[in-house]
């Protein structure tokens, strides 16, 4: 499940337009929730002091991340098709909460209710370390140098619509 959209926001890098990075074949993108079922989030909105005190839990590759506005998210991989300065629309949100209220929907909250955006701030690596592997019937340890990629996202927009 990887439902984030990467868009080259005109503000950051006008030259590139990136395609929607969706690699979940089975799961269809969240369909628009019918109006009758649409949740009324006014209490959440008022309690969050105009979206100032708001947190959200979004999922990326099915891994939950609890964020507020201005947080840095350290992803232990290189985000596909993303470059530094790109804007990422995070649209798989399971929970939105204010100090007193929570709205939670495991299958994903309708995209119209909130806005959660991040910008790709840094694509870097973890510090160098070595992994040792021992094979059977071999006396020697194999040493593998590891310096995995890291992507840092900065949450720059979290608000209720």
């Amino acid at each position: 499940m990887f439902r984030s959209r990467i868009t080259a926001a005109a503000r950051f890098s006008p030259a590139r337009a990136l395609a929607t990075a969706t690699n979940s074949g089975s799961s269809a993108p969240i369909a628009a929730v019918p109006n009758a079922l649409k949740a009324d989030l006014t209490s959440l909105k008022l309690n969050s002091n105009g979206s100032k005190d708001l947190y959200a839990v979004f999922r990326l590759h099915n891994m939950p991340y609890l964020v507020t506005k201005g947080d840095k998210v350290y992803l232990p991989f290189k985000l596909k098709n993303a470059e530094v300065g790109d804007s990422v629309v995070l649209n798989d949100v399971t929970t939105i909460g204010s100090p007193d209220f929570t709205y939670n929907k495991e299958e994903g909250i309708s995209e119209e209710l909130y806005e959660l955006k991040a910008s790709v701030v840094e694509i870097t690596r973890e510090p160098y370390y070595e992994v040792y592997r021992k094979k059977q019937r071999c006396r020697r340890l194999k040493t593998f140098p590891v310096e995995p990629f890291q992507t840092v996202l900065m949450i720059n927009e979290l608000k209720l619509n």
């Binding site: 503000r11 201005g70 840095k72 204010s98 991040a118 973890e126 510090p127």
Partner: protein
């Protein structure tokens, strides 16, 4: 005066609002004679570096000739410079190096053992055992 102000500087959050690329300058040093610069010379000759530079408009590419092994120096906005040796690398590998290091922030590499790094206060506050009714508290 009832209340005095303590001087505090506001904290930069690059990426909230505007994003400014931390790497602002790349110095490309090559040698016109040595064999270790072959890849870099090719990169310069066939216009690939021009392509890279035109894609990365915010970065100033400073190209100069000097004897010795070729070197890339990445200058970041935290006054740090990262030198990368590109001796005996081919054009493609050098391009990858440029791609990789120009996307860094110049801060030393570190592994953050949590998924999210936050400078905000917790929205929900911190749980306190003192705020439950006395009858519900844990008895020792």
């Amino acid at each position: 005066m009832p209340v005095k102000a303590i001087a505090k500087s506001s904290i930069a959050r690059n990426g909230v609002g505007a994003y400014v690329v931390p790497c602002h300058k790349i110095s490309v040093q090559y040698c016109n004679w040595g064999g270790s610069s072959t890849g870099l010379r090719e990169l310069l000759k066939n216009g690939q570096l021009d392509n890279i530079a035109s894609k990365k408009k915010g970065i100033f590419f400073d190209i100069f000739k000097r004897t010795g092994h070729p070197k890339l120096t990445f200058h970041y906005n935290n006054d740090k410079a990262q030198e990368v040796e590109v001796a005996n690398l081919n054009a493609k590998e050098i391009e990858q190096k440029i791609q990789e290091y120009s996307q860094r922030s110049g801060a030393p590499l570190f592994k953050h053992n949590h998924k999210v790094l936050s400078i905000n206060d917790s929205i929900r506050g911190i749980w306190s055992p003192m705020h439950t009714p006395k009858s519900h508290r844990h008895q020792i």
